[in-house]
């Protein structure tokens, strides 16, 4: 038997495979396909304090080994969450993690305070990296001083496990990882989407209503992996690797580079059972390599 358990701060995960925010709904959409409680955790769709209609259609474009999206944080707001979503997701027998977003620091703080009161929310992932909103989002995540401010404010407002999700659209990702660690984050997750764009040459128009959008999928994996590796060397808090993870082999690359856990994103669109398949594949790999504990391979490329 292989031990797949990991911890982030005081929070235990039965296994290191989580789902990425915005790609797994609230989990309910996947119940037809598998028991979502088998996963180590579920990161819910990004929530804002007020409801948001998101960006106009068209919101997505396919790209080589990837996709662009500009959903723009469409969600029904915190009141709706508490009334309608929380009662469902609190039944899952795994870590349910909220993904919080805002235009102003006060929004983040207000959300953090409200999630703090919801006993079955295992952690919050502070998203300062959404590229598809005009205010907040990536604006926080690409400026060191703003990042520090929002992380500090949320840390003060929230007593649980705090994960900070970083934007890859920066020159030195490790600076942002250090800031998060200094401000008391329990873990860092990365990457959110890379800012990209595509054009329909027949209509001569951008494919997305907002012109630019967030690139995800296997195309971004080499960049994500590099950034996870850089952050793992820069900070001591656990890293959650995200970006183009389609199969167990991809996930294992992230562990070897220094991630303690991974999030499966776009893969769930293409194969709704990807996340459990990845979980099974990781177990098989460890068994074949006769490694008894996932923790043994975390950051291994730096030690051999």
């Amino acid at each position: 038997m292989v031990n797949l358990g990991i911890s982030i701060g005081n929070l235990k995960f039965k296994n290191p495979v989580l789902t990425a925010s915005g790609t797994f709904g609230n989990g309910t959409e996947f119940e037809d396909f598998f028991d979502v409680s088998r996963l180590g955790g579920i990161i819910l769709k990004g929530t804002t304090i007020e409801p948001r209609e998101g960006n106009p259609y068209p919101r997505m474009a396919e790209t080589p080994s990837g996709m662009l999206n500009t959903v723009g944080l469409q969600n029904k707001g915190m009141d709706y969450f508490e009334r309608n979503i929380y009662p469902k997701v609190s039944l899952y027998k795994t870590n349910v993690i909220a993904n919080i977003n805002g235009s102003y620091i006060e929004d983040y703080v207000a959300l953090a305070e409200r999630f703090d009161k919801l006993g079955k929310i295992a952690a919050i992932e502070l998203n300062i990296s959404c590229p598809n909103v005009k205010m907040g989002g990536m604006v926080f995540g690409t400026d060191p001083a703003s990042s520090r401010k929002v992380i500090r404010a949320v840390r003060e407002a929230y007593s649980g496990t705090l994960i900070v999700k970083l934007s890859p659209n920066v020159t030195r990702i490790e600076d942002f990882a250090r800031i998060a660690e200094e401000e008391g984050a329990d873990a860092i997750s990365l990457i959110n989407t890379l800012l990209g764009m595509s054009i329909d040459i027949e209509s001569m128009k951008p494919s997305l209503s907002t012109i630019t959008g967030g690139l995800s999928g296997p195309a971004v994996k080499p960049v994500a992996l590099r950034m996870v590796w850089q952050c793992a060397r820069a900070v001591k808090v656990p890293i959650i690797g995200i970006g183009g993870i389609m199969n167990a082999s991809d996930a294992i690359e992230f562990f070897l580079a220094g991630a303690s856990a991974v999030q499966v994103g776009t893969a769930s669109f293409i194969d709704p059972v990807s996340s459990v398949r990845i979980l099974e594949g990781i177990e098989k790999y460890l068994e074949e390599k006769k490694i008894g504990d996932i923790k043994e391979i975390i950051g291994l490329i730096n030690s051999i």
Binding site: T23, P56, R59, N69, G217, S268, D271
Partner: protein, 255 residues
């Protein structure tokens, strides 16, 4: 009707003309209930340009044979690859997805309007309506005579009306110019096709006070309501075409 992910085996691949083909797919396990208007998300293997699944309406269902059919128009790399599938090849589907058309109540007069690949969801819908004891009117529009497909299949089920843009078959012009639309009184219309066509039909129905449902083909990444990419602006805000649709009552759409 839980959603499933399943490997089907290609039973047949029938080329209808330069652009269209019908895939007949055999399921390995008994088919679930499928309602007319629902669709499947198809994984296209072996085509580096097709990263995401491709959505297709379920064109027909045969519970005895345990098969479904997809009517597909070649539009790009993915459909091109699918057109090359041979009997015995396998194809992975996530299905049945989305809502479905409203089956009319006894005595209602209904017209199904399909243009181009928009005729795809109409065959199974026509069957279900016929099973409900109503003979549907079916108005099909094509560019020209050479592009007319499945005319006979529809004729077996309902009263078929035909238009071609160049007049080489049926009535010349667009579906919205066909006399049946103007002359007969319908309680309900169902429409799928190019957006301008659906909008024209919706406008006609709006003016005439006829209930009208259309099937939208918004770009989709997941097909199961999680990516929020396929939204359509409605009177109730942004809704997902893949779960709240693909069938919408046109009075809900901000057209």
């Amino acid at each position: 009707m839980p959603k499933r992910i399943e490997d089907f085996v290609i039973r047949g691949n029938k080329r209808l003309n330069d652009d269209f083909f019908v895939l007949e797919l055999a399921a390995g396990t008994p088919l679930p209930d499928i309602n007319p208007g629902q669709f499947a998300e198809v994984k296209v293997e072996g085509s580096p340009e097709t990263f995401l699944r491709r959505p297709f309406s379920i064109h027909d269902v045969d519970y005895r044979e345990n098969t479904i059919k997809l009517l597909i128009q070649i539009a790009g790399k993915g459909t091109e690859t699918l057109s090359g599938l041979r009997p015995g090849n396998s194809l992975n589907l996530v299905y049945p997805l989305g809502n479905s058309f409203t089956i009319p109540s006894a005595g209602e007069k209904v017209l199904l309007v399909g243009g181009g690949c928009g005729i795809a969801p109409m065959l199974y819908l026509a069957r279900k309506i016929a099973q409900a004891g109503i003979v549907p009117g079916i108005l099909l529009g094509f560019r020209n005579k050479k592009r007319v497909i499945e005319y006979e299949d529809y004729q077996e089920i309902g009263d078929v009306y035909l238009t071609t843009e160049d007049g080489s078959d049926g009535v010349k012009g667009l579906v919205t110019g066909h006399p049946v639309l103007m002359n007969s009184v319908f309680d309900r219309m169902y429409c799928c096709g190019p957006e301008p066509m659906m909008k024209a039909v919706a406008r006609h129905c709006g003016n005439a006070g006829i209930a009208c449902e259309v099937s939208l083909e918004n770009l989709m990444a997941c097909g199961i309501g999680t990516c929020l990419c396929c939204v359509v602006d409605t009177v109730r805000g942004n809704l997902c075409t893949c779960t709240d649709g693909p069938v919408f009552n046109t009075k809900d759409l901000k057209w």
